[in-house]
């Protein structure tokens, strides 16, 4: 009976945390520096007893009380007829189902980690094209960019983490889940730069495919736990 009672309390506590059952993750996701920093700043403020507005994320400059880092659940597209300079094509997909209806989205930031930031084995200049997937498709073959790229960026590689603001896109996906068909990422190699060595395109792209890590940092505000404006509690 005691065990049963305790089990009941555990479920009640999980619901309080906003969970419907005890999570049992199969593999641990890397925790980005920014989440650790925000956590440690909160812990320090709570320890010193300083007053803190739990509904604002100072480090990010947005209002919100729940931060989620969503891993990319997409996949690479392989095809023999990739355009010459195309290094990789990837579908990026983020599951927004964890966001509750009443939560308001205040930030959605795509992070593309291209790999370590070093200048010793500087790779070729890269051009990234990011576009919305507008309609379902068979992903058996590579495709030309499905829509007009809404983000184009040219970077020397390796570059570290590139960030893109996807708040409007994420709001649209959150309001119309059937529209969430993911993003199409294409990375092209701009071969006009001569590094004095003849780098092999394929193994450069293989390294890039190995090191690329995409994630979506989402911040939401729960109006039941946070006062609409930043009105202080009396």
């Amino acid at each position: 009976a005691l065990g049963q009672t305790f089990q009941f309390q555990e479920n009640v506590f999980l619901q309080f945390l906003g969970l419907d059952k005890v999570p049992s993750p199969q593999k641990f996701q890397p925790v980005p520096y920014i989440l650790k920093k925000i956590f440690q700043d909160r812990e320090a403020a709570a320890t010193t007893g300083g007053s803190q507005d739990l509904c604002s994320i100072k480090n990010l400059g947005v209002r919100g009380n729940v931060l989620r880092l969503l891993p990319d659940q997409g996949f690479y597209l392989y095809s023999k007829d990739l355009p010459q300079a195309s290094c990789l094509q990837k579908l990026l997909y983020f599951n927004l189902a964890a966001i509750r209806d009443k939560e308001q989205l205040t930030m959605a930031q795509l992070g593309l980690d291209l790999g370590s930031n070093t200048y010793y084995n500087l790779g070729p200049e890269l051009e990234l094209a990011l576009s919305l997937v507008q309609e379902p498709r068979v992903w058996g073959q590579s495709i030309s960019t499905p829509g007009k790229p809404f983000a184009l960026q040219s970077v020397p590689w390796p570059q570290g983490v590139l960030r893109f603001n996807l708040l409007d896109v994420a709001k649209d996906w959150n309001n119309n889940p059937q529209k969430n068909l993911g993003l199409f990422l294409e990375i092209l190699v701009k071969g006009d730069r001569d590094f004095g060595v003849n780098f092999q395109l394929e193994d450069t792209c293989a390294r890039l495919r190995h090191s690329l890590h995409a994630s979506l940092l989402v911040v939401t505000l729960n109006p039941e736990q946070c006062h609409p404006s930043s009105r202080k509690r009396r």
Binding site: P25, F28, V31, I38, R42, A46
Partner: protein, 113 residues
């Protein structure tokens, strides 16, 4: 685990009782990244008239203790939290999302009548 009160003399008087819930004891350390547990402190103890004149009590408690002394039918003042602090939890859910969530008024820092 309960952390013993500092001095036994005021054991029965209203004060903060410290209780630490270690997430490992619940098996939750497998999905909660930080913290390792949290302080489930609570307030408990008597609020006699003598205590209501101390700093941590409210005027209402002073009056109620006075009335309780006159007519024991009137209950004593009660021991409640007078200062609370929030906690943050960094955890992973079943969709491999890493979540940081803040919960306000979760930890009892001080108690009073």
């Amino acid at each position: 685990s309960a952390i013993p009160a500092p001095n036994a003399s005021c054991k029965n008087l209203c004060h903060r009782h410290q209780l630490f819930i270690n997430f490992r004891d619940l098996g939750w350390h497998k999905w909660i990244i930080a913290p390792k547990g949290f302080m489930a402190n609570y307030c408990h103890g008597d609020c006699p008239f003598s205590l209501t004149t101390s700093l941590n009590s409210s005027n209402y408690a002073f009056m109620q203790a006075l009335m309780h002394a006159v007519d024991p039918q009137i209950p004593q003042a009660v021991c409640i939290p007078t200062k609370l602090s929030p906690i943050s939890m960094l955890y992973q859910d079943n969709d491999d999302n890493v979540i940081l969530r803040h919960y306000e008024d979760m930890v009892v820092d001080e108690c009073g009548c």
